[in-house]
């Protein structure tokens, strides 16, 4: 037992080491970019690195981001564990957010049931939206990457239309709904900040996903299907059922994130384009966390800090916050290249890719 845990600790240290190297390199790239573009590089870089802890308010913003990043990271981790490349979290966030908002604005919104019912509605909607690409793949063999990306665009357009045409207060031309009743908005854990129920939900979701993946038969089957589809097939595991259910469960998490978005203290209403591309950043979280649910909150904590720092840098200095995408891309490239996700399509293809670098080396000479 102790030998086993020693091995595990060594693996964790090694992976944490490569991640830190990747992070350092990404920050070095960020520094170069800031030096090249800013008139006051010192201020820009110090805002990026120190901004989030400069006040209680910014710490609240940071933790709020961590909660959301954790949830999207979990959703991506779940489908990555099953070796699916469903990219539909963004769409699930939008349909989930829409359903949560509909509940919050209905008569239920004024009662104590507002928060749980809205969350359940959001999860159900997200699960359905996650099921669609899964079913299309299992039944028709349609690529889940393309279909889930298309569903994202559809969800965003439909939600934006609903908000503009029906949900916004009539005649104001606003692109957001009115504030939900207080009963439908997450209570603040520390008053006056955005430190709210969202982070509790995120941590609970982390524990649940870990338990389901590593302590239940379904989780074992899911990981088997992901790691070795051929073996799973031979042992009689219904691979496509597992795949569809994994994508559905991930969809429920995506939908929940939608509820956390609209009901959190940051919004408390539904507006157009509300996710600010955060949903997609779950890809980065899941990759860096190696799709391990327990690592997801820690990665989210680090990355959320950087993200918040970049936002503040965009507001307070002349460097646009979009600079963070350069850091993101560098981290993904570096972390993804130190390990390779095996068995994504067919084993045969993989064998070819494994063998390929030999020729690459000789070709380079």
């Amino acid at each position: 037992m102790s030998a086993q845990s020693a091995v595990r600790w060594r693996a964790i240290r090694k992976e944490a080491g490569t991640t830190l190297v990747a992070l350092a390199m990404a920050l070095a790239v960020a520094l170069v970019v800031v030096l090249l573009t800013s008139h006051d590089p010192y201020k820009a870089f110090s805002t990026l690195m120190g901004g989030p802890i400069s006040s209680n308010r910014t710490i609240g913003l940071w933790i709020d981001d961590v909660a959301k990043l954790t949830l999207t990271g979990l959703a991506f981790s779940l489908v990555f564990q099953a070796r699916q490349f469903s990219m539909g979290v963004q769409g699930q966030v939008y349909v989930g957010g829409l359903c949560a908002a509909l509940v919050a604005m209905s008569p239920i919104g004024g009662t104590v049931f507002a928060i749980p019912v809205a969350m359940l509605a959001a999860m159900a909607a997200g699960a359905f939206y996650g099921l669609l690409p899964g079913y299309a793949k299992a039944r028709f063999g349609a690529s889940e990457i393309v279909s889930s990306l298309m569903l994202n665009y559809i969800a965003i357009l439909v939600v934006n239309f609903m908000v503009r045409a029906y949900l916004a207060p009539a005649g104001t031309g606003q692109l957001m709904t009115e504030k939900f009743p207080d009963t439908a908005i997450f209570p603040a854990i520390i008053p006056g900040t955005r430190f709210d129920l969202g982070i509790v939900i995120a941590l609970a979701a982390t524990a649940i996903v870990w338990f389901v993946l590593y302590r239940t038969a379904w989780g074992l089957k899911l990981r088997l299907v992901g790691h070795n589809p051929g073996f799973a097939e031979y042992s009689g595991i219904p691979a496509s059922t597992i795949m569809v259910s994994a994508m559905t469960a991930a969809g429920a998490i995506g939908g929940l994130l939608g509820a956390v978005f609209v009901q959190g203290r940051a919004f408390g209403n539904l507006s157009v384009d509300f996710d600010g591309n955060l949903a997609f950043e779950g890809i980065l979280i899941a990759i860096v966390a190696r799709s391990r649910p327990l690592a997801v909150p820690f990665v989210a904590l680090f990355y959320g800090y950087l993200r918040q720092g970049a936002q503040l840098m965009g507001i307070r200095t002349d460097v646009p916050s979009e600079m963070i995408s350069v850091v993101q891309a560098v981290i993904i490239l570096l972390v993804a290249s130190s390990f390779s996700m095996p068995g994504k399509k067919v084993i045969a293809k993989l064998l070819g890719q494994r063998a390929a670098p030999v020729t690459a080396g000789s070709a380079a000479k």
């Binding site: 299309a136 028709f140 979009e322 993904i332 993804a336 996700m341 070819g352 670098p357 690459a360």
Partner: protein, 316 residues
Amino acid sequence: MIELLMTVFSATFFVTVIRTTTPLLFATLGGLISDLSGALNVALEGMMLIAALTAVIVSVYAPWYVAVLAAMLAGGLLGALMAFFHLKLKADIILVGFAVNILATGGTVFALAAATGGDKGTSINLQSKSVPAVDIPFLDAIPGVGPTLDRLLSGHSILSWLGALTVFLVWYFLFRTPWGLWLRGVGEYPAAPEAAGIPVSKVRAWSLVASGALVGIGGAQLAMFNFIGFTRDMTAGRGFIALGAVLLGARHPVGAMLAALLFGVFEALSIVMPNLFNWIPSELIQTIPFVVTILALVLFSYRAQRARQLKTLSKA
């Protein structure tokens, strides 16, 4: 309804279709080449976006053809970057592709702000050029069909003509040259070309570069003809639709062209429909290309699956 039919069968609509199809066509051909070599290029979207911005910025200072070449170069370099991380450092191609996409969404806004002095939305303050349209005046002189022919064939971007030519070139390359055979072999069953001494990784790397260069032309057409100038996220999913078009086109250049044309028709519809049916909300009209992509993908995958099943049945 009558108005819609009138519009659809007009020469102006045909010209619109060709215009909307051209970026998709280049992206689809680019996706096709890398897909056939065994590397699914999910970065078409990001490559197109970066190429579009490159084309706009270069065209401020240089003639249009230099801008198109710069867009190709930008796409090709991104392809080389993907090849390096995928083949040398063994990163998963899909993750590398999404890294490029993420770099593109934020990086283009960042670069745009740097180029325009702080404008993060559009390049409206940059004097960017456009790709010239080709007029064929002598068609008009043909008796009878002349004027119709002239209206159908004049006014297209020079890149649209290049696109039609590229379909043929890609077909010729893939099916009539030894390198095309290598490329298809590498994608089909890498062990065999490897045993025959064909540099598998090199072929795949070059196909990613070619893929990026082709998508780059699509980006140039988008920002220098369909729209003049760059707006953030202007590709609006075209790269992902092209990914669907590759699969829909049965991984053949002519099929790719037909698939791109199909999606081009629906995009053109979503452009003309708001004028005809102002009671349909514009957001819902904008969903048309995405809905059609899913439906076409499901339908095609289903048919391909059936065909495969029949094949195995007849073998057994």
